[in-house]
Amino acid sequence: MEKTLKKEKFNSLITGLKDKGYKTIAPKKDNNLITLCEIQEADEIHFDHVQTNNSIKEYFLPKTEKILSYTIEKTKVSIEEPEGFAVKSVVFGSRPCDAASLPIMDKVFNWDCTDKFWIERREAITIVTIACDKCDSYCFCTSVGLAPDAKQGSDVLLTKISDDEYLVETETEKGEGLIKELETVFSEPPSGTPDRQVATVEKKFEIDKVKPWLDENFVHKIWAEFSTKCIGCGACTFVCPTCHCFDIVDECTMSKGDRVKNWDGCQFKMFTLHTSGHNPRSTQDQRWRQRIMHKFKYYVEKFDNILCVGCGRCSRVCPADMNISEMLEIISTDEGQPEPVSKE
């Protein structure tokens, strides 16, 4: 289904969503940070940005969430499972890279056992994506098989066709249902061919050359070279829309408590630390290697998808100015590749 949406109709759209019982999440400017967060009014929305600071991930895999609660009375323990955690919502203004992360992550969360915390949120949230009309030097979606107007993961795709109008294309039944629910907000499709304003994102590396190199080079001095600056802060992991490793801990008093699932990351030293003191990844270069291998080799072998959408957040936020697309460029090109060390 094709429609158009005028900027002047944003107010009616946000009010309409509220009336229909949706929570609305949109990019909002707060000082210099543009964050995807819950909004109440249309004038909070900010679309003149390249990328939000946070990714869409936290609305599907929260930073912290209760997975069960228990009460202890002498020797008896009773358990309660949480309910109502999947709130009917619309993300209005996701970027195509963020939206594409969702079907990629669906694979691990549906692998054999299904994760109801993920699945119920996926069902409850509708994704309205805004195609990118500009990009910056950190963006590399086109290097990982995506595009500034990619459709993967979106229920509705908006593309700017003039300063105050967007082309609206529904990509799924859910998206169609949303448009029909708020029919009066949308106008008829444009006549003729709309002038889609979509950024040109320069390809930085050949992705097809990355995995073959990783297959052969688990042992290579480049891992130490790449990660020399890394301080293991984990910022890259937290802002990444496809990083999904988590921790499970108990938090409690004497008689009751919660079992909680928290974001975690393979860049932290304690991530793989055994109680005995043994640590399979005791140095930062081993941890950095895990990050690259997981995203560009292991996930591909398991689920046939790269675990990266080229959003560039990891590089933008790194306090040590590490840049993942520069590293992938080095890996994928023959020129300037350091000699591999002899394999032990």
């Binding site: 228990y70 020797t75 323990v77 988590f246 801990v249 398991k302």
Partner: protein
């Protein structure tokens, strides 16, 4: 689960016998040797231990653990009658049907006998499906040997060849078993590799020195099995913590052949 029995196996090592609080859950519960579970000390967290009892013994589930960190210390404060949490079974299994008609050699060290105890009893309970069964088990000292009563049972049986050993310096004056590191004792015992499956579990150093001994004795890598462990949290392939290279230990393990391990990156 209810803790119905507690056994102190060795300094800091304890076995819990567990029964389901919900009888229907207990009746419907099935597992196979090799699988593990996550046990909760509510308020402290979960720990991963293999299920140490055999699936042929249906009325209970057992686990054996060493006091080492926060959760295991909390578990060791519990007594018979207390409640612990249990979720499982997870992971893959020892392919004992494929081993039928063959000889079996079990090699274990210290606290690594518990992961093999399930499959040992499973095979002993189905004794006539297998030919010769040899168990080589060693620990640092006599006190560190676990399942001391069962070791006596296995010694008394004439259809099992049990060889026990302690590290040099770990023997007591009345010790009648061997003295020597497990890999050395395996070499001395020299089990015949023809039509034989070897199942090995132990601390990394023991495995490192035992595998070459088995190779020297003629065991091919796809006839040697082990069970790996790694730090785990979810146990079901979601949290991304337990992988060695591409392999998730909780989903595609913990049971592997030496051949499969030789293909894994050196990250464990």
């Amino acid at each position: 689960m209810n803790i119905s029995d507690v056994t102190d196996e060795a300094p800091g090592v304890r076995t819990f016998r567990l029964n389901f609080q919900n009888e229907d859950e207990g009746k419907n519960f099935k597992f196979q040797a090799g699988q593990f579970a996550l046990y909760s000390a509510f308020g402290y967290g979960e720990s991963t231990f293999c299920i140490a009892s055999s699936p042929t013994r249906k009325d209970y589930v057992e686990c054996t653990f060493r006091q080492a960190g926060r959760v295991t210390n909390a578990l060791s404060e519990l007594n018979a009658g207390d409640t612990i949490g249990f979720r499982g079974p997870y992971g893959n299994v020892f392919p004992i049907e494929e081993w039928e008609g063959k000889n079996l050699v079990f090699v274990a060290g210290g606290i690594a006998l518990p992961p093999l105890r399930s499959v040992i009893w499973n095979c002993l309970d189905l004794r006539d499906k297998y030919k010769n069964i040899t168990i080589v088990y060693g620990a640092k000292t006599v006190a560190d040997l676990v399942y001391k009563n069962e070791l006596k049972e296995w010694t008394a049986r004439d259809d099992v060849n049990l060889v026990t050993t302690v590290d040099p310096g770990g023997e007591t004056p009345d010790w009648t078993g061997k003295v020597g590191f497990v890999p050395t004792v395996v070499e001395e015992t020299a089990p015949d590799s023809k039509d034989t499956i070897a199942i090995v579990c132990g601390p990394p150093i023991m495995i490192k020195f035992t595998l070459p001994v088995l190779e020297k004795l003629g065991f091919k890598q796809d006839k040697v099995y082990t069970t790996l462990e790694n730090r785990m949290k979810c146990g079901l392939g979601k949290c991304g913590r337990c992988n060695i290279g591409c392999t998730y230990i909780c989903k595609e393990g913990p049971v592997f052949t030496a051949e499969e391990i030789s293909k894994m990156p050196d990250e464990f």
